[in-house]
Amino acid sequence: MRFERKDLLGTRDLSAAEIRYLLESAESFKEISERPLKKVPALRGKTVINLFFEPSTRTRTSFEIAAKRLSADAVNMSASTSSVVKGESLIDTVDNIQAMAPDIIVVRHKFVGAAHMIAERVGASVVNAGDGANEHPTQALLDLLTMSEHKTLGPDLTVAIIGDIAHSRVARSNIWALTALGITVRVCAPPTMLPRGLDEIPGVVVCKRVEEALAGVDVVMMLRIQLERQDRLLFPSIRDYARVFGLNRQRLDLAAPDAIVMHPGPMNRGVEITSEVADSDRAVILNQVTNGVALRMAVLFLLGGQGHE
């Protein structure tokens, strides 16, 4: 097995073999972050540009740390400090960055397909760190990596994804990746947050009630409610949402006794998840963050070390 792609734009077009290869590679990178000297020379002399047109702390930091632990030179560019605020178009920004000969561009943009467009335009490898509500592949892969520490990834596994599915690139990337591995995905959301056609995807089960979604599942993945979207009235009130869809101790008891709880962060404590659950030993939320670095190291290594002519 080889990973021969130039870019990582989504999980939708990844094969099960590619996903497993990425996870297996990431497994080997975990140990580097536990060393006294957390650095290997693998990407020495390579330049990684983190191009973030949307605010992000965790993902950008995670990519930056991953690049630095591989000895790459990581440069951060965020929209608020870039020429975007001076009116430059995305294409001009990208052309300028390409002119500085980076090896990898990590991009987050509010428009669906932004990373794809950039990938077609530049010779550098492009990693999609979120394009609108479309995909966020490294998040899904780090979620799988975290699951694999506790569960066997395969047809015997059932994962519940609960929350704002419609606006979540995390949910989308997870649904593609999980179903590619034959894992059953139950989704549950208020009707206003549920995209149409979900139940047509093989392996996806849409549940109306959260209790139904949780019954006996092995993994519970809670999504962040985007409070900033609340002006669009997707649900009556935050309190109602917490009451009907929030994960609390009683609801978690419906899941399998050894079920794990995941959240891509940042959490709204008391809304989609109670502090009791988030801080319990069932939660693997901080492991997700730790694994994010290893997974992104594997991705940068596999994309960045090779010439794509």
Binding site: R2, S28, A42, F301, Q306, G307
Partner: protein, 188 residues
């Protein structure tokens, strides 16, 4: 794989003898070492290090700590390699500070693997010394590196392929030399 033109150097029995001698030499030279550890280079170096660990353990009645090293991320040809070798897990579950490290590999050829391994080891701490044990020294060095303990010296040209097979990964122990054009896609 074609076994035509394959010239067998050593059988399983010979390999066992060589390892035994190397183990004794290691013990002999390091009687005074306070912290002697073995580190095998993946894949076959690890199998050989495990066997050395067993023989040394039986000799001095004390089990030496053993680590596993993957040198992929330290290779000097990463940017020119057409594809990446799979990165495997490095496991050094002890401190290398002040340790005498016996680095173990199957074949010593250009010396580049050993260079990468030494760089990697030094990132884990400051060993008192690093000594190199190999089953086969085939010559043709490209870097100024020499082994401290050698099972067998096989003078071979760069056109030859020297292959060590070990029971753990190949089902049997054997050292062979064959012309490069008859070999399979595997490389050292």
């Amino acid at each position: 794989m074609s076994h035509r033109d394959e010239h067998s150097i050593s059988s399983a029995q010979d390999v066992a003898q060589m390892l035994k001698r190397v183990a004794f030499e290691i013990v002999d030279r390091n009687v005074d070492s306070e912290k002697l550890v073995l580190v095998g280079i993946l894949t076959r170096g690890v199998s050989l290090a495990r066997r050395l660990q067993k023989i040394v353990g039986e000799t001095i009645e004390c089990e030496l700590p053993m680590g596993v090293l993957d040198i992929t991320l330290y290779r000097d040809d990463l940017s020119t390699a057409t594809h990446h070798p799979v990165v495997r897990k490095t496991e050094i579950p002890f401190s290398l500070d002040g340790a005498t490290v016996i680095l173990v590999d199957d074949v010593l050829y250009t010396g580049r693997t050993v260079r990468a391994a030494m760089d990697s080891l030094i990132d884990f701490g400051r060993p008192q010394s690093i000594q190199l044990a190999v089953l086969v020294d085939r010559g043709c060095r490209e870097l100024p590196i020499a082994a401290d303990f050698v099972g067998i010296r096989v003078p071979a040209s760069p056109q030859d392929r020297v292959m060590v097979r070990v029971e753990e990964s190949d089902g049997f122990d054997k050292i062979t030399v064959m012309p490069r054009d008859t070999m399979s896609g595997e490389s050292n």
